[in-house]
Amino acid sequence: MTMTTDVRQALTARGLTKVYGQGDAAVHALRGVEVGFATGAFTAIMGPSGSGKSTLMHCLAGLDTVSAGEIHVGDVEITKLNDKQLTLLRRERIGFVFQAFNLLPTLTAEQNIRLPLEIAGRQADQVLFDRVIETVGLRERLGHRPTQLSGGQQQRVAVARALISKPQVIFADEPTGNLDSRSGAEVLSFLRRSVRELGQTIVMVTHDPVAASYADRVIFLRDGLLVTELHQPTAQTVLDTLLKLEA
């Protein structure tokens, strides 16, 4: 994989604009966002409801189209790709962890983890697989189906699935939104460990200051614009910033 001049940036967006609807009914979800995400960093995106944080993530991940602006995943400008190319890009370079409904109910945990590789027709790196499974602590649960797993276990399977294909970026959309605080903490620590130990780049959307405090950096959105950011955040500093934004 060849890299661009700035090796530190796994993902960049320039002048990112997203408009839904037309004329009077037009809603400006993003109004020219400029942002970069460093390789091997854990970044959280925060903001009040309607600030455009989910839209930003969908656009960055190539799930949604943009109205204007550019997005680069590594050296690829994804805003120029068609649906087929985007699909292949997601397959090769992007991992996902959603809030809910991350797993196919017909497949076992292991089959779910291996699914992205199977779709891409690639062989799993057995060493990586074992390491991921050890880290997630799911060895005994591999043969179980999603309905036989707890919510926290399901999310951990989802994270393992995202990790297994060694993507350039993992996008996590409210990964702890449906979990109790203990399971949530488990999943978040696991995400942080995968950044530290596997050098994974993670972008997470959340509205929970505690979840955001696990990240290396938090960026804040309001009304479709990037307004501020925090480095090495704590739950308290995140909460203070949010309160300031809402005011």
């Binding site: 949604d64 109910p105 017909t106 779709i119 891409a120 309905t147």
Partner: protein
């Protein structure tokens, strides 16, 4: 509640349409059947009423029509009596018999002798002359226009007709006529003469009917009374109106037969439609569990939920039945147009009639089937707990084979098998067939019960290849097809019904064909069959004698038989031709001892007479010792077989009915044909058919029947495909987020579409496999009940064709749902709950 239901229905117009279509097609077919037959009935009534206006009173002989040998007739004396009645302006007798027309090749025309009829003079004539004039002299005749066309006669030609003593007579063709709706005349073709000539030509001893026209001012009712009084008892005297009514209702009986046959297929289609509706509502209820729970939360009672689902089914039922009626009207009109175009002997001129019965029956069947099919799903809806509204994820329905299902399924399957085995073990006949059919129905119920249990292993079996061939989409598709066994079972059973019946029919026809031709070939590989046109006419013995003298023919076997009274019973007796090529294996005894003074008896006749090998039978005053019992299926074999010499001595006047010829090897086909024709040419009523022609005609008839039945069953298959499409599109809807997840993980649009197509393929194949297994199995059982030594043949290619077609059809059914699934936006689908 009413408003909520309607709003829900309107919000899903496409789903409504797909669901309705199943019922619409079924109702359409049923309504179409009624429209078609009603219109035909109306046409007959109109035609007969028009005819009846021409006659005031009709006289018919009393008597049993069933006894064909002695048809009751009216004499010239009767006619004279009628003519003498006061108030009668005109009275004429109608003659109908046989008068074989000789074709341009010098042989009698057609395989059936043409009918000879009288054309009445004046206003009493009911025959429509379409060209030229009615015959006025003894040397003039008219021909029905279809026969004239096929035999290439035109007005002004001279035609030759045989009289009842096979003497040729020549007539000038003065006109052509239309046989109208007379089925018999349309089938045989007809020559029309003046009444006197008709009597002479057909050899009829009198009239079938005497038509009377009353003088001015004489009411038909009064005339009827006075004619009846003049004739005395033994006659049926009707007014013209009564006659028209009777004729019309007799024809209605015929259309009733067609109606019942077609309705049977309509009912099969409705059964399949009911399964489709049941499945659709089941899925809808499962999908809307949260919606129902929400309604329950805000205060809707169980009763209201039940009512709302039922109301939805009523709306669907009414809508689709009304649409079905319209389609039925179209179908009926189209069928009439086709029948009119091929000039079928039915009235097609009248407008299409939509009776109130058609409307009532169509609507009732449509609505009742829809509502009944929705009853169980509606009950299931009431079991949704209000708390379900708060659960985030729809639970995956898991299926476990209950004890009850296992026990009942096994019971039905065992009972079905048992009854079928019982039927097969019985002596061949209608009873045995009925038992097998009953066994088949019970077994099918068993299959219906265990279907959810066998769908999973069958899915694994059918999915083996796609799983390996199509990568991830293939694997996911096979898993999905086995995901909800109950749903998959109902979807596929709908298809199974159609495929079962189709393969059943093809197995039966193929086996029949093989058995019949094998019997012919094995016992006597015939090259030519010589026969006659009419049932009662025979071939002079000289023909067989001459054929036997020719060195080109290996064997010449005659069919020479009559009825004789043996032990007070009427028994079929005939002359058995001993020939090396004609192999008959006795069931008991030996044909070696067969010679003068002996008889060979079929086992059935032996049982009837209570005789066996060694006993004697007495026929026509002589005793014959029974030396062998023969199989009932051998042909040509009679109940009691004598040597030719013994038979001719006992029944010197019996001629040959048929002659079967086997040509010696090495004799060219045209040489043998020429000789056969040379020998038979002096006898115009004797017809020659080559075995290939006979078999071709038989094959054609069988093919035709198979095609018609398969076509009619196609409707049921079409409806079941709608079911697959419906199930799949509802499943796609259910799995919106799943599909979005797969797309996010890198499944391309074509891969997603392929996944759904493969799922449909697997469902289609499961349905087809079960259907083929049942069809072939019970086809085999059914053929075992036809005759003793059946040669069973499964039409492998045809059956593989059914399986392949079902698979392809499944894929086609998946096209639209798959397109919709692939087009959905990922972000939007992920967000929807």
């Amino acid at each position: 509640m009413f408003k909520t239901t309607l709003a829900g229905l309107l919000a899903h117009k496409l789903r409504l349409l797909l669901t309705s279509l199943a019922i619409t097609l079924g109702v359409g077919f049923i309504a179409g059947t009624f429209v078609l037959t009603d219109t035909i009935d109306a046409g007959f009534a109109q035609k007969f009423t028009a005819d009846a206006q021409k006659i005031s009173v009709a006289v018919l002989p009393n008597g049993d029509d069933a006894d064909r040998r002695q048809e009751p007739i009216l004499t010239t004396g009767d006619l004279a009596k009628v003519r003498g009645v006061k108030g009668v302006a005109d009275a004429q007798g109608i003659v109908q018999g046989t008068a074989p027309l000789i074709g341009k090749n010098g042989k009698v025309a057609g395989s059936r002798a043409t009918s000879g009829i009288s054309i009445l003079k004046g206003t009493l004539n009911r025959t429509a002359i379409t060209e030229g004039a009615a015959p006025a002299a003894a040397t003039e005749a008219v021909l029905d226009k279809d026969t004239a066309k096929t035999r290439q006669f035109t007005v002004g030609d001279t035609i030759t007709v045989l009289d009842s003593k096979q003497v040729k007579h020549q007539f000038t063709l003065v006109g052509l006529f239309d046989v109208g709706v007379n089925q018999q005349l349309s089938f045989t073709g007809a020559v029309g003469f003046t009444t006197d000539t008709a009597l002479r030509m057909t050899g009829a001893k009198g009239f079938r009917e005497i038509d009377v026209r009353g003088g001015d001012g004489v009411s038909p009712e009064d005339l009827r009374a006075s004619v009846a009084a003049a004739l005395g008892s033994g006659y049926t005297v009707k007014t013209g109106t009564q006659l028209a009514d009777d004729l019309a209702s007799a024809n209605n009986m015929d259309t009733e037969f067609i109606r019942m046959g077609l309705l049977l297929f309509g009912l099969i289609a409705m059964l399949v439609a009911a399964l489709v509706i049941y499945n659709t509502f089941n899925i809808l209820v499962a999908q809307r569990a949260r919606e129902m729970a929400l309604l329950r939360c805000i205060g809707a009672t169980k009763k209201q939920i039940f009512g709302s689902i039922l109301l939805e089914s009523v709306v669907v039922g009414v809508l689709s039945s009304v649409l079905g009626l319209l389609i039925g009207l179209g179908l009926g009109a189209a069928a009439l147009a086709v029948l009119g175009a091929v000039d079928a002997p039915i009235p097609t001129g009248t407008g299409v009639s939509l009776s109130s019965r058609t409307i009532v029956v169509g609507l009732l069947i449509g609505i009742i089937v829809t509502v009944a099919a929705a009853l169980l799903p509606a009950r299931a809806a009431t079991r949704v707990a209000p708390i379900a509204a708060l659960r985030s994820q729809v639970e995956e329905s898991t299926f476990r084979a209950g004890v009850l299902r296992t026990v009942f399924g096994a019971l039905f399957l065992l009972a079905g098998t048992g009854v079928t085995v019982l039927g097969v073990a019985q002596d061949p006949g209608q009873d045995a067939l009925l038992i097998v059919m009953a066994g088949g129905c019970v077994f099918f119920l068993g299959v219906l019960i265990v279907a959810p249990m066998i769908v999973k292993p069958l899915g694994a079996f059918v999915g083996w290849l796609p799983r390996r061939l199509f990568g991830v989409p293939g694997k996911l598709a096979v898993d999905n097809s086995r995901r909800n066994p109950k749903r998959a079972a109902t979807t596929t059973v709908a298809l199974t019904i159609g495929v079962t019946l189709m393969s059943l029919i093809s197995v039966i026809t193929t086996t029949t064909r093989a058995t019949v031709s094998e019997q012919l070939n094995e016992q006597f590989p015939v090259d030519y069959m010589i026969g006659t046109q009419q049932r009662d006419s025979t071939i002079p013995r000289a023909v067989a004698g001459e054929l036997r003298s020719r060195p080109e023919f290996g064997s010449v076997i005659t069919v020479r038989e009559t009825e004789a009274r043996i032990k007070g019973q009427s028994v079929n007796i005939g002359a058995f031709t001993v020939d090396p090529l004609f192999k008959v294996t006795p069931v008991k005894g030996s044909m070696k001892d067969f010679g003068p003074g002996t008889a060979a008896v079929t086992s059935w006749t032996a049982k009837e007479l209570g005789v066996t090998v060694g006993d004697t039978v007495k026929a026509a005053g002589r005793d014959y010792r029974v030396v062998a019992l023969l199989s009932d299926q051998s042909t040509p074999v009679y109940g009691v077989n004598l040597t030719e010499r013994d038979f001719d001595a006992a029944f010197p006047r019996v001629m040959d009915k048929q002659i079967l010829i086997k040509v010696k090897d090495g004799v060219a086909a045209d040489t043998s044909r020429r000789i056969v024709e040379a020998v038979t040419d002096p006898y115009p009523t004797v017809l020659v058919e080559s075995a290939r022609e006979t078999r071709g005609a038989f094959d054609e008839a069988l093919d035709m029947i198979t095609m018609i039945i398969t076509g009619l069953l196609g409707l049921a298959v079409l409806i079941s495909l709608l079911g697959i499409a419906n199930t799949l599109s509802l499943s796609v809807h259910e799995r919106t987020r799943e599909s979005a997840l797969l797309r996010a993980l890198g499944l391309t649009r074509p891969q997603l579409r392929r996944m759904l197509s493969i799922e449909a393929l697997v469902l289609g194949l499961i349905g087809a496999l079960v259907g083929v297994a049942l069809g072939v199995g019970f086809g085999w059982a059914a053929t075992q009940t036809m005759v003793d030594d059946v040669i069973f043949r499964a039409p492998v290619l045809q059956i593989l064709g059914f399986v392949a077609l079902s698979g392809v059809a499944g894929v086609v059914a998946a096209l639209l749902p798959a397109r919709r699934a692939a087009k959905a936006s990922i972000v939007g689908s992920l967000a929807s709950s």
